[in-house]
């Protein structure tokens, strides 16, 4: 992201403000730290999933209600891959664990990306420019995907245990922080960095950003936005697959309906972020992750409501989301 003088820092401040506001409510500093790291980890995973969706929307004005399928698909592929590598996941050594999780992630991304390509071709392509049909048909695509997952892996919940070496917690002062959450933060930051680099330093990124801002102009310059879009769609699906693996490991189990469940969070995130903005999606994801963990600790019954309240509050402040994309 270009950090020019006009860059609007106010939304960025929301994240530390929320974290600091929660400190007196929670009272204990070590509990607060545990919750904050958990919230950031959850936020990073959500961001990985949401970033592709928001780019697709910004670029082609297509909102994929079936995005959740790729999450579930990634998670289920991971159960199969990790299931086959029992002696690697059962090992105490971290490098062996990583050697099991990495291929699981790669395969999940490849499968989700490939299915994403087919999804774009058969479900999304015929309904460009027709919002109503887009919503209906991607929803239909999600039903089909979810049912096919049930055909292949069965309709029941499957356990996705963390590899031995990734379990347990480390002590930061008095606060115990689960190892996996630190890993999730690192992976999330890596994805964000890679994405930010691609978007701001490469020609493809330049074209994507330009396409999000003003599609007609980029097309008039002779670039094929359609092809770029397919690339972004496939990448977005693959990232959702990766997010699914991480989410599944975070929850330690997967159900075929998990896509629809996570979808709700993703939508809140990209609405908060301003549809189409990657930075906005990051802020939205972190806010949602923190909010979910703080309220889950303070008043568990209203955890999901708190995110909706957050969305409402932000939309009252900025009706187009924190970083509205121009021309929309």
């Amino acid at each position: 992201m270009s950090m020019n003088k006009d860059f609007d820092y106010k939304p960025l401040l929301l994240v530390p403000v929320l974290a600091l506001a929660a400190l007196p409510l929670i009272g204990s500093g070590s509990t607060w730290l545990t919750l904050t790291v958990a919230g950031l980890a959850m936020g990073m995973i959500i961001f990985i999933i949401a970033s592709g969706l928001t780019l697709v929307f910004g670029l082609m004005d297509v909102l994929n209600f079936g995005h959740g399928v790729f999450i579930a698909l990634g998670a289920f592929v991971a159960t199969s891959v990790l299931g086959m590598m029992g002696d690697w996941t059962g090992s105490q050594e971290l490098w062996r664990n990583l050697l099991a999780v990495l291929p699981a992630m790669v395969v999940a991304m490849l499968v989700a990306g490939a299915i994403g390509l087919a999804f774009e071709r058969f479900i999304v392509r015929p309904v460009y420019g027709q919002h109503l049909k887009q919503i209906l048909i991607t929803m239909g695509g999600m039903i089909i995907g979810e049912e096919l997952i049930k055909v292949i892996w069965g309709p029941l919940q499957i356990a996705l245990p963390l590899p031995e070496g990734m379990r347990g917690a480390v002590l930061l002062g008095d606060a115990s922080v689960e190892k996996y959450r630190l890993i999730a933060v690192v992976v999330g930051l890596a994805v964000f960095a890679a994405q930010a680099w691609t978007l701001s330093r490469t020609k493809i990124g330049l074209l994507i950003r330009a396409g999000v801002q003003d599609r007609e102009m980029v097309e008039a310059l002779g670039y094929r936005i359609r092809r770029l879009f397919v690339g972004v769609f496939v990448m977005g699906s693959a990232l959702a697959g990766l997010g699914g693996v991480m989410w599944g490991l975070y929850q330690q189990n997967v159900v075929p309906q998990m896509g629809a469940q996570v979808n709700v969070l993703i939508f809140i995130v990209i609405i908060i972020g301003g549809l189409g903005s990657t930075t906005g999606a990051l802020i939205g994801a972190l806010l949602v992750g923190l909010m979910a963990n703080y309220t889950g600790f303070l008043v568990p019954k209203v955890a999901l409501f708190s995110n909706i309240a957050l969305m409402v509050a932000i939309l009252l402040w900025r009706p187009q989301g924190v970083y509205p994309v121009a021309n929309r």
Partner: protein
């Protein structure tokens, strides 16, 4: 007289008219011609879904708003009856109190959601309602001392509507006139009245403005109509009718829980029925609901046969398993959005329009 009753919204297709009359007759005499509990349940479910889907069509088909919070109002209606009869006993007063409270809550919620979010674009509204609906479902299952949580609430109805009540000692036309039958005919009358009321709404000047907004929001606004007000009213009306449909469901099942009235699957069913029947036609919801509920109830048996026949091929057998019936429905849904966007009713009307154009002018 008859044309007035259906608000001059004639079927405009001979086949459609015949089908509608047959459907009406079938639903009217169902308890007498098809014996058995299952068939009566299917008929009652058609009546309930017909109202629910027609109320959703007011929103989707006539105003062009996609909402995923529709089952929330369905659930409120059902919970209104369930909670009131659980706490106040099986009396008519309890039913009235529960229904009134549910309608009031639906009205307030629909107003709040409408005023807050109908200013935004279609895709935004769809996402916001999706979030609200899932939050509501969580709330309903967590307030367990009030809603019975995941287990839901089973309750009794006033004597006249309960299965143990018998009007006559002897069966009439081979069927006992019991409380269940009275209950069915109550649903039948209510569904008919609600459907006619919805026809009245969509064919009123108000309904025409809704259609204008659906076709071109900008022009409607330019003509001087306050689009936000009309959209909010449309979503309020649709919420109230959905709430009544929920009350019908609770009356029939004498039970309500989160999965019965609030689940996302029901929302999908409603979407499917609207698209299959034909968006923007109230008649489409009747035809769609009948097709869908019958298919749901009997297609599973058919799939079971197919699955058994394909037992040698494990993957095919899994695909044809009756539990996977939603898969086939999803495929049907996607295909009908592509190739059949106007639904059964739209197709039939287009067909008869072509015929009259091609043939000689009718005298």
């Amino acid at each position: 007289m008859f044309a007035r009753l259906i608000s001059n919204d004639l079927p405009r297709s001979r086949i459609l008219a015949v089908v509608l009359v047959l459907l009406l007759l079938a639903l009217a005499v169902a308890p007498f011609i098809v014996p058995g509990v299952k068939a009566l349940n299917v008929a009652a479910k058609i009546l309930i879904f017909l109202v629910l889907v027609a109320s959703f069509d007011l929103l989707l088909g006539y105003t062009g708003i996609v909402s995923f919070a529709h089952t929330m109002f369905f659930g409120i209606g059902a919970y209104g009856i369930a909670i009131a009869t659980t706490h106040l006993g099986p009396t008519w007063t309890a039913l009235a109190v529960g229904l009134a409270a549910a309608l009031a809550l639906s009205l307030l919620l629909a107003l709040a959601i409408g005023l807050f979010s109908l200013r935004v674009r279609a895709i935004f509204f769809a996402m916001i309602t999706l979030a609200v609906a899932s939050a509501f479902q969580t709330l309903a299952s967590q307030l367990s001392e009030f809603t019975g949580g995941e287990d839901g609430l089973s309750f009794k109805l006033p004597a006249l509507l309960s299965p143990s009540f018998e009007l006559f000692e002897e069966p009439v036309l081979g069927t006992m006139i019991d409380g269940r039958l009275i209950n069915y005919y109550l649903l039948f009358v209510v569904a008919l009245v609600l459907l006619l009321a919805l026809l009245r709404i969509v064919n009123s000047p108000f309904g025409r403005v809704l259609q204008a907004i659906r076709e071109n929001e900008f022009r409607a606004e330019a003509l001087g109509y306050r689009v936000v007000v009309y959209r909010t009213l449309s979503s309020v009306f649709s919420a109230l009718f959905a709430c009544l449909a929920g009350a019908m469901l609770a009356l029939w099942l004498r039970y309500n829980g989160p999965d019965t009235s609030l689940s996302f699957e029901i929302m999908m069913d409603v979407l499917l029925i609207v698209v299959i029947g034909g968006m923007g036609t109230i008649y489409g919801s009747a035809i769609g609901a009948a097709l869908f509920v019958v298919a749901q109830s009997y297609l599973q048996d058919l799939l079971r046969l197919g699955s058994e026949a394909a037992a040698g091929l494990p993957l095919l057998a899994a695909l044809l398993s009756p539990d996977r019936w939603l898969l086939w429905l999803g495929l049907l849904f996607v295909l009908s959005v592509y190739y059949f966007p106007t639904g059964v009713v739209g197709r039939l009307r287009a067909r008869s329009l072509r015929k009259t154009k091609a043939g000689p002018e009718p005298a």
